[in-house]
Symmetry: C2
Subunit: 332 residues, 2 copies
Amino acid sequence: MPSKVTIETVARHANVSRQTVSNVLNAPDMVRDETRARVVAAIEELGYRTNNAARQMRTGRSNLIGVRIDPVRNGIEASVLDRFLHGLTEAATPAGYRVVLYTAADDDSEVNTYDDLLAAYAVDAFILTHTHYDDSRTSWLREHHVPFTTFGRSWSAPEEHSWIDVDGAAGTAAATRHLVAAGHRRIGFIGWPEGSAVGDDRRRGWSEAMHHAGLGTDGLARFTPDGVDQGATEARSLNGATAVVCASDPLAFGAWRARSSGADRLAVIGFDDTPVAQALGLSSIRQPLAQVAAACIETVSMLLNDTRHDGDGEPARRQVLLEPELIVRDSG
Amino acid sequence: MPSKVTIETVARHANVSRQTVSNVLNAPDMVRDETRARVVAAIEELGYRTNNAARQMRTGRSNLIGVRIDPVRNGIEASVLDRFLHGLTEAATPAGYRVVLYTAADDDSEVNTYDDLLAAYAVDAFILTHTHYDDSRTSWLREHHVPFTTFGRSWSAPEEHSWIDVDGAAGTAAATRHLVAAGHRRIGFIGWPEGSAVGDDRRRGWSEAMHHAGLGTDGLARFTPDGVDQGATEARSLNGATAVVCASDPLAFGAWRARSSGADRLAVIGFDDTPVAQALGLSSIRQPLAQVAAACIETVSMLLNDTRHDGDGEPARRQVLLEPELIVRDSG
């Protein structure tokens, strides 16, 4: 391949030293007008791509934002974070940033990756997903004064850093109210074992809405690892329930497949409005992923433009909680 | 936020001019040993992140590879390119590259984006998807001597540039042979209207396998825009057929929903092994996306390290055609 135009090429073309080219880029006042004009002409003629490298040398800014892409899951939920990633890419460009991807097997390897991306690519900021209780990634970024925001609350200390999240409890509460309005009284919940911050929040929405409606929840909650078969098993065990709110679409799909017809029919509402839910006519709760992504980019821009605390002060913070939307289809 | 350490900060700390710091980074021979040692010490002490910016200034290389992320489709097929994107990210890191994302509404806006990514981010190479007949994007990249490879053949001129692709015709042929071995004689095909290179290829695999088996194809092919409802409509029109090979999972899902039971039952095989096919027990043809991604990164590395044609010569080229895998489930 023809190699890219470098400082060397420009210098040869303009018949000046490499140093002079570098001066034109970084300290133009040091260069005589006539020489500067010749170098600028050579840069333009050769199409030397200086902008980012030169800007980065001057400002320390790369205009790159690091975002993790999750390990391949062949499952039903895979599309959720992919839609979020697309939203980030769409929102980043007009704001003057680009998204650079990384993968990580766990929190520790993610922290090592931050270090590499900061050292080798001068990434300006990170957008994290999958926040959880006592998240070591956010502690590391705060200690190292690296701007970041998260899709997902700072569960252990809500005010600790900037985040954007979707109100999962509001989603399951809306689903529960919808089922109550349709005449259901014994409405179950199938979710994940306690300790998953997101799962605990989704369960809370269901139980609070049941209590508000004057309905009991005794014996109506089931907890299981995520999965279609797990959803089916738990749905079969919910004797007497006529409807169920699920913490995910795979659980909902299993519940629906186990009890979709006859006297045993269970109304089912899932979470995340995945392609599978759309294809099968499953009711589900949709997260406004494009809005979440836009708010993440806005927040990162704000952090990067905040020069008030240009030293040891605490950085600005911004927390945004968005409402999900209940999509009603055949199943509920 | 505390601002990043810049050349300015390093200069102040080492008590030298900005220019001297720049010299240490770009032309260390020009700097006296003692001064150089002081600047290097300041760089280390302050943790100045020079690698990429400095390397980019020296070499014109950013180690960034541009990859498009597709517009959000809520449909069934969305997961295919997302899995490819994850594979690219996984393969890029050990090879010394990172993936930077962009979006584009059409070929013209994609070409404009190349220009921006080259100018502002000095992206080293591109990996393109969705190749088609007379692709203006690949012409532009070739004219501008930008290294690239494509997931998808160069359909108009197969030798024109490097590409990695999956043998779609081999996939539909394997599906057809599987149905023949199961005793089917009237096997239909539901695909896209002629002129889509990928679709034409998938149809060819079916018709060639039918002819090899001594079976006719008259009246057994249907062409329609992609979609679940379209698949159902075409399946109903395939009177007398007992099986069908489809160019996509949405078409297959529609066909399966329309004729999944009774005397009218149609054996159905889709394409792409999406989460919906997995959830519903649809047989489908799976593309080896992680392998495609790894081959794309390998190819781009080869192009970027090929200095033999460091001028006007034609760049090296590499074409790789991988086999898909038939996944047999309940539907076929």
